[in-house]
Amino acid sequence: MIRVVLPAHLKTLARVKGEVELEVDGAPTPRTIIDALERRYPVLLGTIRDPRTQERRKFVRFYACEEDLSLESLDVALPEAVVRGSEPFFVIGAMAGG
């Protein structure tokens, strides 16, 4: 079970409160987590990554275990604590705009 923390706007769209718990297909990576998120919450299609290129939207960041994974490959293996479910995977709206 992977725990995911969404930013407020995406929680509103997905109509969830608090963390989301997901089963992912295959090894947990940013890509398989986003795949699982979009399957469960189709409204999130296009809000985190470009649906055609699969590239992360430029003002969206991925954090886990106090590390910024945004510039890593979408297929990077996630820390063991995220895989075990003891730490969440964070989808973040970048701090911008003042």
Partner: protein, 371 residues
């Protein structure tokens, strides 16, 4: 009993303002989609309870929302706006080629005849159509690919397709306007297009009378005579009597012919409204006085409408999609400001009163006249 519903898009959400036909007491609902930019909402003329909204942010992109109960509840529909083929390039601000990139939906135009059909004008400029109530979108790529596309360039707000008008007398005839490419017309339902900018004159272009490149801010028409078009260009208020084949300037005695919004009285095809703005570098009313100007002669002679509007220290803007009229017996006129006020006149502009004063900056105003 008759009534009106005013659909307001703002920088931080949507609001729905409702009143009976007297238009004195208003019910304000919202914000819907709080924190998101709502560039535009518009209801279906066929089914007024069906309303579409363009919801976006720079962070999470574009969504389209649809309500089938007059705005009480909303469901997201399709948000995949994919350009047809390889979209190529247009000009960037500095004149260099820049790839076409989807940014947002500026304007939604529900069909006059079919509640499931609507058009969307987007940035970077293109026109999309949905025939399944917003679930899927297909580009009408004949516009972007008609030949002048590579020379289009963005205006200050981006390269946006902001105006869509389907002729009420001929569903095959569509007008669109793009900042800053100009106006275009299709006579075959959107398959093929041609620029309709003859007579426009824009300082700042290498060829001031060029076929494209004009920063058209807004076009309006009256349904009874869709060959007569009124245009608020970057500078100049223009009129065409031949469906855009040629234009003449009708700025007349306006204190400034710069502005964004323009609209036509619901029952008087020659009565036109604009809101003069000081200049392209000073986006606020001349002399700090918020004045709507009305022409009852199709342009050239304009009268200021000031009763109920601030006549000192007012430095708001009225954006291109932020003016609308209702079609009650005595025509109502509405506009929103970047200061968050939405003003209404229930007597064709003779006097005004704010419906609300403190919304986020208003991006768009549409009105539904309800039976």
């Amino acid at each position: 009993m008759s009534g009106v519903r005013v659909l307001v898009g703002t920088r931080k959400g949507a609001f729905i303002l409702s009143s009976d036909g007297q238009r004195r007491n208003w019910d304000v609902k919202g914000p819907f989609f709080g924190g998101w930019e709502i560039y535009h909402l518009k209801g279906s003329p066929v089914d007024p309870n069906r309303i579409f909204a363009s919801q976006s942010t720079g962070w999470f992109g574009q969504l389209i929302q649809r309500s089938d109960d007059g705005g009480l509840t909303w469901e997201p529909v399709g948000n995949q706006f994919v350009y047809d083929g390889v979209p190529g390039t247009h000009q960037w601000y500095d004149g260099t080629p820049h790839p076409w990139e989807f940014e947002r939906v500026w304007h939604l135009e529900p069909s006059l005849r079919d509640p499931d059909t609507l058009l969307a004008g987007v940035e970077d400029a293109a026109l999309f159509r949905s025939t399944d109530a917003g679930a899927t979108w297909t580009e009408l790529s004949g516009l972007r690919e008609h030949g002048t596309g590579p020379s289009w360039q963005p205006g200050a707000g981006g390269m946006c397709l902001h105006t869509i008008i389907v002729s009420p007398k001929d569903a095959q005839r569509i007008f669109v306007a793009i900042s800053s490419a100009g106006a275009f017309r299709s006579d075959d339902g959107g398959d093929t297009w041609r620029p309709i900018n003859h007579g426009l004159h824009s300082e700042g272009l290498p060829d001031e009378d060029a076929e494209v490149g004009h920063c058209v801010h807004r076009i309006a028409l009256h349904p009874s005579n869709p060959d007569v078009l009124y245009m608020q260009k970057h500078w100049d208020v223009m009129r065409s009597d031949n469906a855009g084949d040629s234009w003449v300037e009708v700025s007349g005695n306006l204190p400034s012919d710069f502005g964004f919004a323009i609209d036509v009285h619901a029952h008087e095809p020659e009565t036109v409204y604009v809101v003069p703005i000081t200049s392209d570098s000073e986006h606020f009313p001349p002399e700090g006085k918020l004045r709507v100007y009305r022409s009852r002669s199709g342009g050239n002679e304009w009268e200021p409408l000031t009763k109920g509007l601030p006549q000192e220290n007012c430095y708001v803007d009225v954006l291109r999609d932020a003016m609308a009229v209702d079609s009650l017996e005595e025509c109502g006129v509405y506009f929103g400001t970047t200061g968050g006020q939405v003003y209404a006149s229930s007597n064709a502009g003779d006097s005004w009163a704010p419906i609300v004063r403190d919304l986020p900056a208003v991006l768009s105003v549409e009105v539904q006249t309800l039976a």
